[in-house]
C-alpha cells in the first residue's frame, strides 16, 4: 500500500511537471503565426572554431523556440560586391548579409537591397541608431535599407615585441608609439635599423593603398575646401587630387619608402589580410588597423594579446582625423514583410539590436567568452546605437571578460570619447573607385624613386573626374 501511494505520488508529481512544461514553452513562444523561411548569410563554416559554431546553433535553437514556424536556412555566404550582384538579380541572395559601409549607397542606388523601414519601425529600433549611420543606410527616398552591425575607428596596431627590441619603450613598460605622422616615419626608421623589420606594413594593392592614403591625406588637410572630392555650387561632383595638401600627403608617402625606408618590401602585393599577418608574425612593427580587427594579428596569427597594442591614428600637420566605418546588415531585394519581421527577430536573438533581456545578455557573454578563449583582445565596443542602457549593459559584459592591459588601448578609446581625434566617414561618392585611382599613384610613388607626384596625381584626378562625370554628373 505504502508503495502504491509512493508510486501514485510520483506519477502525480510527474503529471504536474508535464502540465507545467507547455506553460513554460508557451511563454517562450513569441509569435507562432509568423511563417516564413529566411536564409542567413555569414553562418560559420564547418571549419570555424567549435565555440563559434555552437554559438550559432544556440541562436538557431532560440529562434526555433520563439518562432517555431520560421525556418532558418544557414548560408556560409560572405559578401563581396562581385558575387552579390548576380545573386541579387537572380533572386538567390541570402535574406541577410553583411557588407562594409563602403557599399550600401551603391547597392541602394542600384536597387539591389530590400527596404526594411517597416520592419525596423515594428521592432522599435528605428530611432535608436545614431543619425550618421541612418544617413549611410538610407536611400534618397528616405527609406532604410539596412542597420549597423558594428562600427570601427581606424588606428595603429602595434607589435610591442619589435618596439621593445628597438628600445622604444617608456619607463612604465609601454610602447613609445608615434603620435604624429612625422614620428611614425622616425620611429619606423629606428625599428628598421635596430631590428631589420619593416617599421610600417602598408598594404598598397587593389584599393587598400588608396583607402589608407585618404586617412593620411585628411591629416595633411584634404578636408573641407581641399577635400579629395566635393560638390560644387551646381551640384556637380569634382575630384581634387592636386591640392597642395594632397600633393604633400603623397610626397610623405614617397618619403616613407625612399627617405625613411620603413615600408614592407612587397607593399604593392600586400592586402588587408597579409598586413595583419606581417604584424602578427613580427615582420612589421606597425599597421594601420581598426578596433574591429584586433583579433587578426592576435588570435588568427598568433601574436599574444600582451604583445599587442592599439593606439590612435597619428596626427598630421593639419590635424588628427581617423576613419570611422563599419559593417552593416543588409537584406535581399525580394524579402517579404514577414521575412523582414523574422530577420529583426533573428538580429534580436543575436544581440545586435539594442534590447536587453537575460537571453540577450547571455548571448553577449557567450560571444565575448568565445573571443577571449580564441586569444583575441576583448575591448570596449564602439556602439552604433545611442541607447544608454544597452551600451552600459554591453560594457559591463566586456569588463567581465576583458583580457588585456587597458593601458595599451586607453589612448585610442580616450581619443574618441574625449574628441581629441576627429572621426570622419569615407569619401562620399564612389569611394572604392577613388581608392583604386589613388592606390595606383601610391604604387608609383613607392616603386619609382624619382616619380613626379603632381603629374601622377593629375592623371589620377582626370581619370576619376571622368568617372564621376560618367556615373553621376552626366547621368
Amino acid at each position: 500500500m505504502n508503495r502504491f501511494v509512493k508510486l501514485v505520488s510520483l506519477l502525480l508529481a510527474a503529471a504536474l511537471l508535464l502540465s507545467a512544461l507547455p506553460c513554460t514553452l508557451a511563454e517562450e513562444v513569441i509569435d507562432a503565426d509568423l511563417n516564413c523561411t529566411i536564409t542567413l548569410g555569414n553562418w560559420p563554416a564547418d571549419t570555424a572554431p567549435q565555440a563559434e559554431k555552437d554559438l550559432f546553433l544556440g541562436y538557431q535553437a532560440t529562434m526555433a523556440k520563439q518562432y517555431p514556424n520560421v525556418t532558418l536556412v544557414p548560408d556560409y555566404y560572405s559578401y563581396t560586391l562581385s558575387s552579390y550582384v548576380p545573386m541579387a538579380k537572380g533572386g538567390t541572395a541570402p535574406s541577410i548579409f553583411q557588407p562594409p559601409f563602403t557599399d550600401p549607397q551603391l547597392l541602394i542606388s542600384q536597387h539591389l537591397v530590400g527596404d526594411v523601414t517597416e520592419a525596423l519601425q515594428n521592432a522599435g529600433v528605428l530611432d535608436k541608431f545614431s543619425p550618421s549611420y541612418v544617413e549611410m543606410l538610407a536611400g534618397d527616398d528616405g527609406r532604410i535599407y539596412g542597420l549597423p552591425r558594428d562600427g570601427y575607428v581606424l588606428g595603429l596596431h602595434i607589435n610591442i615585441d619589435l618596439f621593445r627590441e628597438a628600445g622604444l619603450m617608456t619607463e612604465e613598460g609601454l610602447p613609445m608609439y608615434p603620435t604624429t605622422l612625422q614620428e611614425l616615419a622616425e620611429y619606423g626608421q629606428i625599428i628598421r635599423e635596430k631590428t631589420g623589420k619593416a617599421g610600417l606594413v602598408f598594404p598598397a594593392s587593389e584599393t587598400y593603398g588608396g583607402w589608407l592614403f585618404t586617412n593620411i591625406a585628411w591629416n595633411f588637410g584634404c578636408v573641407g575646401e581641399s577635400a579629395l572630392e566635393y560638390q560644387d555650387e551646381d551640384g556637380r561632383w569634382v575630384c581634387n587630387f592636386t591640392s597642395p595638401e594632397c600633393i604633400a600627403a603623397m610626397e610623405y608617402m614617397r618619403d616613407l619608402r625612399w627617405k625613411y625606408d620603413i615600408l614592407n618590401a612587397d607593399a604593392t602585393t600586400s592586402d588587408w589580410a597579409s598586413s595583419h599577418t606581417s604584424l602578427g608574425t613580427g615582420e612589421a612593427a606597425m599597421n594601420f588597423g581598426a578596433d574591429d580587427c584586433v583579433d587578426q594579428p592576435t588570435a588568427n596569427k598568433g601574436l599574444p594579446v600582451d604583445s599587442f597594442a592599439l593606439v590612435p591614428f597619428p596626427a598630421g600637420p593639419a590635424g588628427r582625423y581617423a576613419l570611422a566605418g563599419g559593417t552593416c546588415y543588409m537584406f535581399a531585394p525580394n524579402i517579404t514583410a514577414d521575412q523582414g519581421t523574422a530577420l529583426m527577430a533573428y538580429l534580436k536573438v543575436l544581440g545586435k539590436l539594442p534590447f536587453l533581456d537575460d537571453a540577450i545578455v547571455a548571448g553577449m557573454r557567450a560571444d565575448y567568452a568565445a573571443k577571449r578563449d580564441r586569444g583575441a583582445p576583448v575591448l570596449p565596443a564602439i556602439s552604433a546605437w545611442n541607447d544608454e542602457d544597452y551600451n552600459a549593459a554591453k560594457q559591463a559584459v566586456i569588463d567581465e571578460f576583458c583580457n588585456v592591459d587597458m593601458r595599451l588601448y586607453n589612448d585610442f578609446f580616450d581619443s574618441i570619447s574625449e574628441g581629441t581625434i576627429t572621426l570622419k566617414s569615407e569619401e562620399p561618392v564612389f569611394a572604392q573607385q577613388l581608392y583604386r585611382e589613388l592606390t595606383s599613384v601610391v604604387q608609383r610613388m613607392i616603386t619609382r624613386e624619382g616619380a613626379d607626384v603632381e603629374k601622377a596625381l593629375r592623371k589620377a584626378e582626370e581619370s576619376f573626374q571622368e568617372y564621376l562625370d560618367d556615373e553621376i554628373n552626366d547621368y
Binding site: 587593389e206 612587397d266 604593392t268 572604392q432 608609383r444 619609382r448
Partner: protein
Amino acid sequence: MSQTKVMRKLSGARFAENSKAWLIMLPSLILMLFFVWEPLFESVRMSLYKTRNVELVRYIGFDNYISVMGKDDFIQALLNTFSYTFWSLIIGFLLPVVLAMIIGETRRSKGIFRTIAYLPNMLPGLAVIILWSSFFSAEKSGVLNILLSTIGVSPQTYLTRAEWVIPIIIIIATWKGAGATALIYMASMAGVSPELYEAAAIDGATVLQRVWHILLPSIRKLMGTLLILQIISVFQIMYEPMVLTKGGPDNASLSLMQLMWQYAFGGSMNYGKASAVAVIVTGILLVMTLIHSYFDRKESSWD
C-alpha cells in the same frame, strides 16, 4: 519512274539521314546556343548600352568603347597584354618542344619523366600562384631571397618591379603549363617514322641536324596550331596577375581581362564598359585567328 520522283525520293532519304544527325547534335546545339552564343551576343548588346548593374538603361552607341579606349589604364592593359604574349612566346613557346624532345630521347623511365613534367598542370591554378608568391616574396623569408642569401646577395624585390613582373608571371604560367603542351608534342613526335632517323644517322647527320631536318618539319603544323592557341590563351590571362600582383605595381601587370573584371566587379559595377573591353579582346583574338587561318590555308594549298 520520273526524274522528279527519283529526286524527291533521294532528298527524302537524305533528309531522313540528316535529321538523325541533327537530332544527335541538337542537345549540343541547344547548350551552345544558351551557354555560348547567347551570352556572347548579350555581351555585345550590353556594350552598346548605358547599364545599371546588369540592366540596360539606354542605348549609347559606341560611347562605352570610346570612353574605355580613351583611358590610360586601357592603353597600359593593352600594352601589357601584348607584353604577356611576347614573353610567353620567348619563354614558353619552345620550352615544351625541347622538353618533349628530351623526354622522347630518354631511354629509361620515360613514363616517370612524363608524369613529372605533367605534374604542375595537375595543381590548382591558385595554389600554384600562392606557392610562387612565397618563392618571389620580397621579404627575407622569401624562398628566392633565402637561396640568394647563401651566396651573399641581399634580399631583392621582384613582384614590385614594373620591369620584372610580367616575365615572372609568364615563368610561373610556363612552369604550370609547359608539361601538358610537351605531352601533345610527344604524341606528335611519336608518329615520326624511326626509319627516317636511322637513315639520317647512317648518312652521318648530327642530333641537331636530325632535329632540324626531320623532327621540326614533322611537327611544324602542330606548332602553328599550338602557337595560335597559346596566343589566345595568354591574351586572356587574368587570375595569375590578379592573385599575384593585383595588377600592380602601378598597373604594370594589369591585363585586359583584369581590366574587364575591374569595370564589372571592382567597385564601379559598370557592366557596359566591362562588356566593351570583352568585345575588344574578342575582336583582337578574332583577327589573330583569321590571320593564322589565312596562312594555314595558304600553306595547305602549297602542300
